[in-house]
Amino acid sequence: MRLYLEPTVLVKLFKREPDSGKMIDLVAAIDSGRDWFGCTSRWSLLEVARALKKDGKPKELIELNLKELRRHKIYFIDVTRSILSDCQDLLASHGIYDSDALHAATFASTTRTKQLDAMLSDDVHFKRLGGIVKVLTLNQVSVETADSQPR
């Protein structure tokens, strides 16, 4: 499965939530490379850093978390002029936040070249972009363990 990882699911890697273990399994599956691909915008690193800061994590721990995030086989997509231009169009036609528009535009642009199946997210705002972004939650993705093949 080929997924765009939106920041709401990336932050789960560093917090204990009911489905955060599943997110660790998913990253392990992406690391194993067998049939799993994960990507996100470089912008996500900033959103993850900000969320962790808001969560009261100290600077050193935030830096360690971000270094860890970069060590996996998650592909970070540059914020290009073309993506920003698509982003402006989305903002003009939908009532969404700048960051959500950036992820939707990055997802749409990456889907054209890397054939993504869906965006993995816990952000309800993406439902408004149903025609542009196919959104899945962690509970809709089946990752048994990193050592097994996806169903």
């Binding site: 932050v11 955060s20 399994d25 990253v27 392990a28 360690l64 978390n65 860890e68 936040y97």
Partner: protein, 84 residues
Amino acid sequence: MEAVSVSAKLSRREAELLERLTREYGFISKSEAVRSAVRLYLNLLQLNPKDRLRTLQLINELIAPSAKTSSALIEEGHREEDEL
């Protein structure tokens, strides 16, 4: 065993914390406390990726526990940007 010396600059706050914790935990010296900290950190980094993520998640939880969910934290950040 051949030893290599490595020096490190610490902030005043870190130096004071090192001094205090060296005493409290009964390390024979500050160097010994630093060696133990470095070994522990290197052991964490050497874990396989999945175990490293699990351990890091626990460290995050122990150092700064919080009941806020990931999506609430991201949403909070977006709302603040919107208000600026």
